[in-house]
């Protein structure tokens, strides 16, 4: 019964993090071992839960594994309880996340050991100065992603989500550290890494604030954050009753869109995608971790978790799903165009990630829940593979610039083959995993948009066109990447001469991921939709009926041919431009003839200049116009605050002080004067009078006798009168 120890899954990597930080931080090998053992143990339990979930079949959707033993915050009529919640898609995530994480961890053992060549041509290997810390961070990262996957409660989800935000910050800026070690410090890299980590953290923070406000509103209106309770039809219908404060939207729509704001930030959708390409400054395993298994997947997973709310919002007159679809589709094509013009091998992959995440969201937005979810899973595997293979390349040649590579397939055959498998999968070439999931999305969009009974759905048509065009561009830029990196003549003889196949620590994970990438797609082919039967047939909590799944009919076959055609044509275009006549050293990109359009792509449509934060190659950074505008605004507000507000406050203080010193003078001179006068008068008089205290007893007696005599005389005088 693994399901009852589901909560241990995130705890094990967390424990590994704690052990590394507290005990083994000075020992690199042990730290790596601890991290790998942590994720391995967690993977074992995850697989146990996954197997149990599979044996439940689609029944699991309506009767998920659920337990909430930890009472976190009891309120009056609601209690926030932490626990676990595993429905079919959660179970599949439990299969994907630890597997990909483990591969990345193993890869990191080799990757974080830098090789450099001295002047005599000898190779020296040396661990990164913060090798152990790296493993601590990625353990924490994996742990928090697993927490997100198993959480039963949106607040619990949010904890994992936010800690991941911190981890991404720490890891993107991992090389902003100026160590005391003799490692050569590249000041430009330090500056870029520092700026990129801050940029990533702050940009995602915008989304996180939206998510948090959505969460708070959800708790106010629905009274619960528990995934098993909030999609209850009565709860949802009660939410409809209240009037939301914004534009006449219903509460569910407003909340769904605020939550989607969190996804936009975390999954790098337009307009908050600007952080992701710069996040490439982190070590490559981190890029793989962020792009495949953890961070950006969490954003998609959030929409998957809240999917019934989106559906309900759209069904009751809101536009939640439509917004998701439009943002996703637009981002898919928008990021794909920018990916075309990048020279950094990792940045191409970064844009492809943004684009593929757009695919998933577009699929979810048009209601193709299963297709979107499946793409999330397959994408995680092939994108991790692509990143790790790209990391293997740049580990070997020491540069990210594809125009300094070329012809590398001879030097690093394993890396080449695995990269090729990942790239074909990304392009949507059968039989690799990406083909099946991407084709599924395109088919759903095609069917809903153009062959829908009744009204044609313009929105879905737009989505289909965007996605199809993005598929073409994806094949084009991926082909460009392959030809520039692995084919043609070496454009940098020095880098080429030192290139070598990576050690087994690095290529073994590549091989494993390549196997997954090759065969995972067979899980959900149109003729054998096992994945659909598991994830889609039971619906979701709050959505009892099964998701629509269409037969493998003529339309599906046409769509399949079309998507293969699109992929191949993109790849062939890439071959025509970059493969047929390879780019020679020093020659500009052939596509640069596009002129102003090309410059727009290279400069990422100047969005960094507009509202982002432009990070230059030399490590300096300039804020964009919008940031500058807000900077000027805050400076103006600061001036107003300092001069006017503080002036008034100071004036008030000054008047108060003047009055107070007046009263102080009165107190000092008048009140104290009276008191002191009383005291000093008494003292003076006492000084005179005490002189009669001579101590001579005869004086006293004389006075007493004189007094008695005086009394007697008085008495006598009185008796005479």
């Amino acid at each position: 019964m693994f399901q009852n120890i589901t909560l241990v899954i995130p705890l094990l990597p967390l424990l590994a993090f704690a052990i590394i930080v507290l005990f083994t931080r000075n020992n690199n090998r042990t730290s790596a071992l601890v991290a790998i053992l942590g994720i391995l143990a967690s993977m074992a339990i995850s697989y146990g839960v996954f197997t149990e979930a599979l044996s439940e079949g689609h029944e699991l959707a309506q009767h998920p594994f659920y337990g909430a033993p930890i009472v976190w915050a009891p309120f009056g009529n609601s209690t926030i309880e932490f626990g676990w919640f595993i429905d079919p898609i959660g179970a599949v995530m439990l299969f994907m996340v630890p597997t990909v994480c483990l591969m990345i961890f193993i890869y990191s053992v080799g990757y974080m050991r830098h090789t450099h060549v001295d002047e005599h041509g000898h190779h020296h290997s040396q661990d990164d100065p913060r090798y152990a810390r790296f493993f601590a961070y990625i353990s924490l990262f994996a742990s928090m992603m697993l927490l997100v996957v198993v959480s039963s409660n949106l607040l619990e989800f949010f904890i994992g989500w936010e800690v991941m935000g911190f981890c991404s910050y720490a890891l993107i800026g991992f090389w902003s550290f100026r160590g005391r070690q003799e490692r050569h410090i590249d000041e430009a890299q330090v500056g870029r890494a520092r700026a990129a980590s801050i940029k990533a953290f702050l940009t995602t923070r915008v989304g996180d604030i939206l998510l948090m406000s959505g969460m708070i509103l959800l708790f106010i209106t629905a009274g619960t954050l528990d995934f098993t309770k909030m999609f209850d039809p009565t709860t949802l219908n009660e939410m409809l009753l209240g009037e939301s404060p914004l534009l006449g939207w219903t509460w569910p729509t407003l909340i769904a869109l605020l939550i989607f704001g969190g996804t936009i930030g975390k999954s790098a959708q337009f307009p908050l995608h600007v952080w992701l390409p710069d996040a490439m400054e982190g070590p490559t395993p981190v890029s793989a971790l962020i792009h495949a298994a953890t961070m950006v997947s969490a954003g998609i997973f959030l929409v998957i978790r809240m999917f019934p709310l989106f559906v309900f919002a759209s069904a009751t007159g809101g536009q939640a799903m439509e917004v998701v679809a439009i943002v996703g589709a637009f981002t898919a094509i928008f990021a794909a165009t920018m990916g075309l013009a990048q020279n950094d091998i990792k940045r191409v992959l970064a844009y492809s990630t943004i684009s593929q995440l757009g695919y998933m969201l577009a699929a979810l937005g048009i209601g193709a829940f299963v297709a979107g979810s499946f793409h999330l899973i397959t994408h995680a595997f092939f994108k991790a593979l692509l990143f790790l293979a790209a990391g293997s390349v740049l580990h070997a040649v020491g540069t990210n610039d594809m125009f300094k590579m070329g012809g590398l397939w001879r030097k690093m055959p394993i890396t080449f083959i695995t990269f090729l498998i990942g790239a074909l999968s990304l392009m949507g070439i059968p039989p690799f995993a990406g083909f099946w999931s991407k084709d599924e999305i395109l088919l759903e969009a095609l069917r809903e948009g153009f062959f829908h009974e009744g009204v044609p759905l313009t929105l879905v048509q737009f989505v289909y066109i965007c996605l199809a065009a993005a598929a073409f561009l994806t094949a084009l830029y991926t082909g460009r990447q392959i030809f520039l990196t692995f084919f043609g003549k070496p454009r940098d003889e020095h880098a080429y001469a030192h290139a070598h196949e990576s050690p087994a620590w690095m290529w073994a994970p590549l091989a494993v991921l390549a196997v997954f990438t090759t065969f995972l797609g067979l899980w959900n082919t149109p003729f054998l939709p096992e994945f659909f039967r598991f994830v889609g047939e039971g619906g979701l909590l709050g959505l009892a009926e099964a998701f629509a799944h269409t037969e493998f009919d003529v339309l599906a076959q046409v769509s399949m041919v079309a998507s293969v055609g699109i992929g191949l044509s993109g790849f062939l275009t890439a071959w025509a431009i970059y493969g047929f006549r390879p780019v020679a050293a020093g020659q500009p990109d052939p596509l640069a003839r596009l002129g102003i359009l090309w410059r727009a792509l290279v400069n990422k449509y100047w969005l960094d200049e507009l509202y982002g934060y432009k990070i230059n190659l030399d490590g300096t950074a300039q804020p964009g116009l919008l940031i500058r505008f807000f900077g000027a605004l805050s400076r103006a507000a600061y001036w107003f605050d300092r001069t006017i507000v503080d002036g008034l406050v100071n004036l008030g203080g000054w008047i108060g002080r003047a009055l107070a010193s007046l009263w102080g003078a009165f107190d000092t001179y008048v009140v104290d004067g009276i008191v002191n006068a009383t005291g000093s008068t008494t003292g003076e008089m006492a000084g005179w009078w005490r002189k009669i205290q001579t101590g001579n007893v005869q004086n006293y007696a004389l006075i007493a006798a004189a007094g008695a005599m005086a009394v007697a005389i008085l008495f006598l005088l009185r008796s005479f009168t």
Partner: protein
Amino acid sequence: MILQIPLVYYLILAAALFCIGLFGALSRRNAIAVLMGIELMLNAVNINLVAFWRYGSPDPIADQAGVVFALFVITLAAAEAAVGLALVIAIYRSRDTVNVEEIDLLKW
């Protein structure tokens, strides 16, 4: 017989004695002499008491209050002399003097 001498004689005698005692107490430097002056004053009072008893009371035989008062004063005088002399001796032992003008510790 005794009553042939009028009361005022006794009173004058007592007043004279009191004045002599007062003068001695105030003017003598020797503490012993001061004590002796005080004794004279007390005895002047005794004369007064006895004289008023004899002349003032309607029935001197039944009413003995004046004589008893005088006896109390004599007892008091004896006690006073004892304490006073003891004090004088104590002072003498510590300060080697019985001159009251030099004994002025309790001044301002």
